[in-house]
C-alpha cells in the first residue's frame, strides 16, 4: 500500500479556467458526473426508443408525429416499418447496455466515489481518466450518428450477429449504420479499458493509511471486481469489433461463411465462421451482465447497511461472492448459444456453471434479506430503491434457472420470456441501483438534498410500473410469443394483443414517472436544501468530507482509517455509528469473524 502522506514532492493546484475545470477536467469527481450525465442522456434516448417500439407493437398503423423527420423511409408518415422497428430495437439495446448500464453504476459513481472511499485524492492516472470519458463520449456520438446516415441505424440487434452484421446491404441500416455501430463499440471498448486500468491501479496503490483491502466499502469492492471483469471482457470485444469492421470494409472473411447468397446475389466471401462472432461476443457479453449488475449490487449493499443501522451478516462473504460471480462469469457464455447449433455436449458444459453461478448470487440475496432481522431499517428513497433492487434481482433471477436448462431454453429462447428475464435481472435491477445511488449520494455530489416525498412517489410508481411491464413478458414467452416481431395483427399471436396493450400503457406511465425523478434531480441541484457533510450518518470516508468535496477530496488532510467500513449499532460508542477515520476505540467491534 502506498502511504500518500510521505514523499510528496509538489502539488497540482485546482484549475481555474472553465474548460479545464468543467469540461476537459482531470478531476475524478467531474468525470464521474460527466459519465452520469452521459448515461442520463443515453437512458432518455433509449427509453424514448422503447416507447416508440411499444406504441408500434399495439397500434401498428399509428403515425407517430414527427418520426418521419428522423427517418422518412423508416417511418413514412410516422408509421414505423418492420425494418425500422428492428433498427430502433438495436439502438435501444446498444444504448442501454453500453452507455447506461455500464456507464452509470460503474464509471459514473465509481469515478466519483472510489478514490474518496479509499482516501485518495484522485485516480492514479487522471489524464487517462479524462481520456476514458471523452473516448466514450466520441463512441456515443458515433453511435447516435447512425440515426442520421443513409438509411439509418443497423437492424442486427445489440448482439450484431454475423453474417447479418458483417455484410453491407443485408437490409436497411446495414451499410453505414452497421459500420458506425461497430466503430462505436470498438471506441467504447478503448474507453472502458482505460477506465478499468485506472480503477484497478487506484484501488491497489492509492489506498490511504489503514485502508486495507478488507476495510474497503462493498461498493469499492464491487467497482474493483467489475474493473477486473471489464478489463478482460472489453479486451475480447475490441478484437471482435476490429475483425467485424475488417469484414465489412476490407473484404476479409472472418465471420462470413462460404456460398452465402444475399438478395439473390452470391457474396464474395468464403470460409468464415458466424459462430466465431457469437463466441467472441458472448465471451464479453455474459461478463457484461455482471459489469452492469455488480456495481449496483455493491451500491445497494452500501446503502442497505447504512439503512439497517447494523452491519450486514457478513462483509467478507459478500466480497467472496462477488469475486466468485466475477470469476464464474467467464465460464457461462455458451448458455447464450444453446440454439446456435453447437455441440449438445457443450450446452451441458455451459449449463452447469450457469447453475453454479446462482449460488453466490443467492447467498448475496440471503445476506441482504437476512440482515433485515434485528435491524433498525430507515425508510427513505435510497433504501426503498435498494430494497426494490433485491426484488427485481430475485424476480428476474428466478427465471434464469429455467433458461439455464438447454432443453427449456430451446423453447423459451426466442420468446418474450428472455426479454422479461434480462430486463428485470440486468436492466431494471441495475437501474434501481442507479436510482438508489443517486438518492443516497446526490447530497454529496451536488451539495443539495433531494426531495424525499418526490423520491418515494418516484419509487412506488417505478416499482409497480416495472412489474406491470416485465412480469407479463414471462407469461407471453411461456405461451409462445416470439420476440423481435414488429406486430402481431394477423397471426396466432393476435389474441395476446390485449396483454401487449397493458404493457405499453404501463411503459408509458412508468416512463412518465421518471419525469418526477428528472424534476427532482434538476430542481434539487439548484434549489434543494443544503446538504450537511454526513446526512445519512454514514461511516465510510465519503462522509468525512464536505458536500461536495473540495478539489483534493479531504481539504488538505489525509484521512487515516482505523475501522472496518460499517461500524453501525456499536454498543458503548458515542453514537450508533463510528466512522472509519474516527480514532474512537470500539469496545465491541463487530468484526466479521465474530458474526460468522
Amino acid at each position: 500500500m502506498h502511504d500518500v502522506s510521505t514523499n510528496a514532492a509538489h502539488h497540482h493546484v485546482a484549475p481555474q479556467g472553465f474548460l479545464r475545470k468543467n469540461v476537459f477536467s482531470v478531476d475524478h469527481k467531474v468525470i464521474g458526473k460527466q459519465y452520469y450525465g452521459l448515461g442520463l442522456l443515453a437512458v432518455l434516448i433509449g427509453m424514448g426508443l422503447s416507447w416508440l417500439m411499444r406504441i408500434h407493437l399495439v397500434w401498428p398503423n399509428f403515425g407517430i408525429p414527427g418520426l418521419q423527420w428522423l427517418s422518412s423511409s423508416g417511418a413514412p408518415a410516422g408509421v414505423i416499418t418492420p425494418e425500422y422497428y428492428l433498427q430502433l430495437m438495436t439502438m435501444h439495446g446498444t444504448l442501454m447496455v453500453f452507455f447506461v448500464l455500464t456507464n452509470v453504476p460503474f464509471a459514473g459513481f465509481g469515478n466519483y466515489f472510489l478514490p474518496i472511499q479509499i482516501g485518495a485524492e484522485d485516480m492514479a492516472f487522471p489524464r487517462f481518466n479524462m481520456m476514458s470519458f471523452w473516448v466514450t463520449f466520441v463512441g456515443f456520438c458515433v453511435l447516435v450518428a447512425a440515426f442520421f446516415v443513409g438509411d439509418g441505424p443497423p437492424l442486427s440487434g445489440w448482439t450484431a450477429y454475423a453474417p447479418l452484421s458483417a455484410i453491407p446491404g443485408t437490409g436497411p441500416g446495414q451499410a453505414t449504420g452497421q459500420t458506425l455501430w461497430a466503430v462505436s463499440i470498438a471506441i467504447f471498448c478503448v474507453g472502458q479499458l482505460l477506465g478499468s486500468l485506472n480503477f484497478i491501479t487506484t484501488t491497489l496503490d492509492l489506498r490511504t493509511k489503514g485502508m486495507t483491502l478488507m476495510r474497503m466499502p462493498l461498493c469499492t469492492w464491487a467497482w474493483f471486481i467489475t474493473s477486473c471483469i471489464g478489463l478482460l471482457a472489453f479486451a475480447v470485444l475490441l478484437p471482435a469489433c476490429i475483425l467485424l469492421i475488417l469484414d465489412r470494409v476490407a473484404g476479409t472473411s472472418f465471420f462470413v461463411p462460404s456460398n452465402l447468397v444475399v438478395s439473390d446475389q452470391p457474396v464474395n466471401h468464403s470460409g468464415g465462421s458466424p459462430l466465431l462472432w457469437q463466441h467472441l461476443f458472448w465471451f464479453f457479453g455474459h461478463p457484461e451482465v455482471y459489469i452492469a449488475i455488480l456495481p449496483a449490487a455493491g451500491i445497494v449493499s452500501h446503502i442497505l447497511v447504512n439503512s439497517y443501522r447494523r452491519p450486514l451478516l457478513s462483509h467478507k462473504v459478500i466480497i467472496y461472492c462477488m469475486v466468485a460471480i466475477g470469476f464464474l462469469s467467464y465460464m457461462v457464455w455458451g448458455h447464450h448459444m444453446f440454439l446456435s447449433g453447437m455441440n449438445p455436449f457443450s450446452a451441458l458444459v455451459f449449463s452447469f456453471p450457469t447453475l453454479i453461478i446462482t449460488i453466490p448470487a443467492t447467498i448475496l440475496v440471503l445476506i441482504w434479506i437476512g440482515s433485515l432481522y434485528g435491524s433498525n431499517l430507515q425508510i427513505n428513497s435510497a433504501s426503498l430503491f435498494a430494497l426494490g433492487f433485491i426484488s427485481m434481482f430475485v424476480s428476474g433471477g428466478v427465471s434464469g434457472f429455467f433458461l439455464a436448462q438447454p432443453s427449456i431454453d430451446v423453447y423459451l429462447h426466442g420468446t418474450y420470456f428472455v426479454v422479461g428475464h434480462f430486463h428485470m435481472v440486468m436492466g431494471v435491477a441495475a437501474i434501481f441501483g442507479m436510482f438508489a445511488g443517486t438518492y443516497f449520494w446526490a447530497p454529496k455530489m451536488f451539495g443539495r438534498m433531494m426531495n424525499e416525498t418526490l423520491g418515494k412517489i418516484h419509487f412506488w410508481g417505478t416499482f409497480v410500473g416495472t412489474y406491470c411491464i416485465f412480469m407479463p413478458f414471462h407469461y407471453l414467452g411461456l405461451v409462445g410469443n416470439v420476440r423481435r416481431y414488429s406486430s402481431f395483427v394477423d397471426d396466432f399471436m393476435a389474441p395476446l394483443i390485449p396483454v401487449h396493450k397493458f404493457i405499453t400503457i404501463a411503459a408509458l406511465c412508468t416512463g412518465a414517472v421518471q419525469l418526477i425523478f428528472l424534476y427532482n434531480l434538476i430542481y434539487s441541484r439548484f434549489k434543494g436544501a443544503p446538504a450537511p457533510e454526513n446526512p445519512w450518518q454514514g461511516t465510510s470516508l465519503e462522509w468525512a468530507t464536505s458536500s461536495p468535496p473540495p478539489w483534493d477530496n479531504f481539504g488538505g488532510k489525509t484521512p487515516v482509517v482505523y475501522h472496518d467500513p460499517y461500524q453501525y449499532g456499536i454498543e458503548g460508542a458515542s453514537g450508533d455509528f463510528v466512522m472509519q477515520n474516527s480514532p474512537e476505540q470500539i469496545p465491541t467491534a463487530r468484526e466479521d469473524k465474530k458474526l460468522i
Binding site: 510521505t6 502539488h11 475488417l246 473484404g251 468464415g272 463466441h279 458515542s574
Partner: protein, 207 residues
Amino acid sequence: MATTVQPPPTIKLPGSGNARRVLARDSAAPSTGIWVALAAITMTFAAFTSAMIVRQGSGNDWRHFAFPIILYWNTAVLVASSVTVQMARRRFASASADVGEHSASVLRALYGTLVLGCTFVIGQYAAWHQLRAERLYLASAASSSFFYVFTVLHALHVIGGLIGLAYVISKLHRGILRLNTLTAASQYWHFMALLWVYLLLLLRTRI
C-alpha cells in the same frame, strides 16, 4: 464505554483542499498500471489467437505462404532493443556520483532502443511490402488476413511504446525522470519483444 485516544496527525497542505499531491517518487502506480495494461493486451491477442485457430478449422480455404525472411531479422532487432532498454534501466537504478555521466550512458541506451524500435517497425513495413509484391493482401486469404492483423496491431503497440520512450527521454533531458517511470516503460518494451516472439512462433506454425 468508548474511549477516545489522541487524534491522528494530519498533514496540512497549502491551499487547504485546493492542491493535490503528485504521485510519490516511489509510487508503485506506474508499474501496476503497466501490468494491468499488459493483462488487457494479452487478453486481446489471446482473443485473436483463438479466433485464428477457430477460423483455420472452420473453412477449407486456409492458404499457406512463404514467410518473409526479414521477420527473423526484425525479431533480432527487437530482442536487441529489449537488451538496451534493460541496460538503461539498470544504469539509471545504480545512480553514480557523476550524475552527468550517468545520464549520458542512460540516454545512449535509450536512444539505442529508440533507433532499434524504429528499425523494427520499418522492417515490418518491408515484410508487408514483400507480401504485397507477392499479391498477398489483407483479404487475399484468411491466413494473410490474420498475418496482417497480428503484425499491424503489434506494430501499433510498438509505435505506442516508441512514443512512451520519447516521453521518457524528454523527462531524462529535463532531469525529472523517475525510476518507476523508466521501469514501467522497460516492462512494456520487454513485453512487446516477448509478444512478438510468441506471434512469430504462432504465425510460423500456422501459416
